[in-house]
């Protein structure tokens, strides 16, 4: 399989704290990759560097052979790398549908459609359907249709999480980075939510990287695991291999279990 995203020698320090020390990872197209590690191990820093929120001190990030390291988040998003957040980033004063419509508006505008002089209803690029239909379709896929008219501010935690991910689908991402998609969701619901998210994403055909603390979820859904510890990747293998690795057991799995016990 071809490599879609290639991070090489990423280093990042915040004062005395090293958040990334020589991180190397080549992500294959259409793969599902789980990122594991304790808090502060460097998972979110990795995502923040790929999406342009943080600039690495050293190293490069290649996306489909193109160096995206110096680009700002909006340009990386336009290229097809989208992300969700550990704490959902929504437009709280707008309804769920309006949240979607703002995103669709941006996609339309970036494609040069739906501008000041355009007439009628432009088709959303990537979806080739009118804006309202695209919003309905994505909301339905994430089980959010019943919430369409509700204000984002008053949604329950799990629904906010889903809307945060649904928003990323508007731009038809080629690579999707999900920062703890199931945090704050009860353990019974985790599998259902991951299944729904991955089904929705696969329907659009995207490569997925997700941060997850529940090893059962990781084993079930990830084809490959990157285990972070102290700013480094200490294991990069299939879940069965990575989770059995003694270093991973000591630094990641054991600590996470202790933290959740």
């Amino acid at each position: 399989m071809s490599v879609i995203l290639d991070a090489r020698g990423l280093c990042k320090s915040f004062g005395a704290v090293t958040a990334a020390a020589e991180v190397n990872a080549a992500i294959e197209k259409d793969s599902v990759v789980g990122l594991i590690g304790t808090n502060g191990a460097g998972k979110t820093t990795f995502i923040n560097m790929i999406t342009g929120y943080l600039k690495p001190d050293r190293g490069t990030i290649q996306y489909e052979g193109r160096d995206i390291t110096p680009l700002p988040p909006r340009e990386i998003t336009r290229l097809g790398i989208c992300r969700s957040f550990q704490i959902p980033q929504l437009y709280p004063s707008l309804s769920v549908r309006e949240n979607m419509m703002v995103g669709i508006g941006i996609v339309l505008r970036n494609a040069g459609r739906g501008g000041f002089f355009s007439r009628g209803h432009a088709l959303v690029p990537g979806h080739e359907a009118p804006a309202e239909d695209v919003a309905e379709r994505i909301l339905a896929r994430f089980g959010l249709a019943d919430y369409a008219g509700r204000n984002a501010q008053v949604l329950p935690g799990g629904v906010r999480k889903l809307l945060d991910i649904a928003l990323t689908m508007v731009a038809r991402p080629r690579v999707l980075l999900l920062d703890e998609p199931t945090s704050g969701v009860s353990s019974q619901e985790k599998f259902g939510i991951m299944q729904m998210v991955l089904d929705a994403v696969r329907a659009e055909g995207a490569t997925v990287l997700f941060v997850e603390h529940d090893m059962e979820v990781v084993s079930r859904f990830a084809a490959r695991v990157l285990a972070f510890y102290d700013g480094r990747i200490i294991a990069d293998a299939a879940p069965s291999v990575a989770l059995a690795d003694p270093e991973v057991r000591r630094h990641v799995v054991g600590r996470l279990k202790a933290a959740h016990a």
């Binding site: 929504l90 437009y91 996609v107 928003l167 731009a171």
Partner: protein, 312 residues
């Protein structure tokens, strides 16, 4: 979905004003013209306010527009109201385009105070400038309309109808803008710029565009006010003038492009009545009106209208 009546309201208002105008007393024509000029400024402020930005310095562009109009007559000998409005708006827009590179980086109180500081710089410059009449300002020539000079008793009506026509066009353009993706981005910028950025848009650029549009509208309004009053002075850039515009914008609410003009008209009515009843304490009456408004109608007068529509 509720049908959009904005176009009908605008068209009917314009026709009513044009048809009923000749029967208005001269003083009323003047008040309505000034209200339209201020409404144009408030229309621009509304765009910024929807994105969560309050400019305490919109008088900068109002005054620039006015002085551009005055300078055209004084130094170039052009006193056509449409040319004045066009040049006033263009000068304000150009200035905002340059200043926008700085302003669009700031939000909240920093944006507000920086805009205020810039308008006070213009005030300071004008006060010291002898060629432009320093604190006294100067009178500007009686206007023509596309080259035609109206009879003296028809001047006010001619200016009123020109003002209404320009306001109609401005309101239609802004209404259209509000329904484009960039226009709809405003509440999203107010809510969460991180998400805006991660959806692939530049909040800074959107703010810059809104700032330029708002400045152009204020410049046109300033040129119009200058023509209607026949005199300009540096007070037009003073911070209290900016305060009036914010007053009108909050009074009106951000619900519709019609609201700023209604707000300006009501502001004019309150102002005139208060001044008439007690020339020394009229500010107190205005203050009381604003206080009552914030307490009872926090989303402005326009919310009264939408609430009624929703219930019926």
């Amino acid at each position: 979905m509720r049908r959009d009546r904005t176009l009908v309201i605008l068209a009917v208002s314009f026709v009513a004003l044009a048809a009923g105008g000749p029967w208005l007393p001269q003083w009323a024509m003047f008040i309505v013209t000034i209200a339209i000029a201020q409404g144009l400024v408030a229309l621009g402020l509304m765009l910024l306010l929807r994105a969560g930005l309050v400019s305490f310095g919109q008088a900068l562009f109002y005054c620039l527009g006015a002085y551009a109009a005055g300078a055209l007559g004084r130094f170039v000998g052009i006193s056509d109201i449409f040319v004045e409005m066009l040049v006033g708006g263009a000068l304000a827009a150009f200035t905002a385009f340059i200043l926008g590179f700085l302003l669009a980086r700031y939000r909240g109180i920093f944006f507000g105070l920086l805009s205020l500081a810039l308008s006070m710089i213009l005030y300071g410059l004008l006060v010291k400038n002898e060629a432009l009449g320093s604190t006294d300002g100067f009178n500007i020539l009686a206007s023509t309309l596309v080259g035609v000079r109206p009879r003296p008793d028809w001047v006010r009506y001619a200016v009123l109808v020109s003002a209404a026509a320009v306001a109609l066009i401005a309101a239609l353009l802004v209404h259209r803008y509000l329904n484009t993706p960039l226009g709809r981005l405003a509440p999203a910028i107010k809510d969460n710029e991180i998400r805006v950025e991660y959806m692939g848009a530049s909040a800074r650029r959107a703010v810059h565009v809104k700032y330029v549009i708002a400045a152009a509208l204020a410049g046109v309004g300033g040129a119009l006010a200058a023509t209607a009053v026949g005199h300009i002075d540096p007070e037009m850039a003073y911070w209290t003038t900016s305060g009036e515009f914010i007053f009108i914008t909050i009074l009106a609410g951000t619900g519709s492009v019609v609201a700023p003009f209604v707000g300006a008209l009501i502001y004019g009515a309150i102002h005139t009545t208060a001044y008439d009843l007690s020339p020394n304490t009229w500010q107190m009456s205005l203050g009381a009106a604003l206080l009552a408004l914030i307490v009872f109608l926090p989303e402005g007068l326009w919310s009264l209208f939408t609430r009624h529509v929703r219930h019926s």
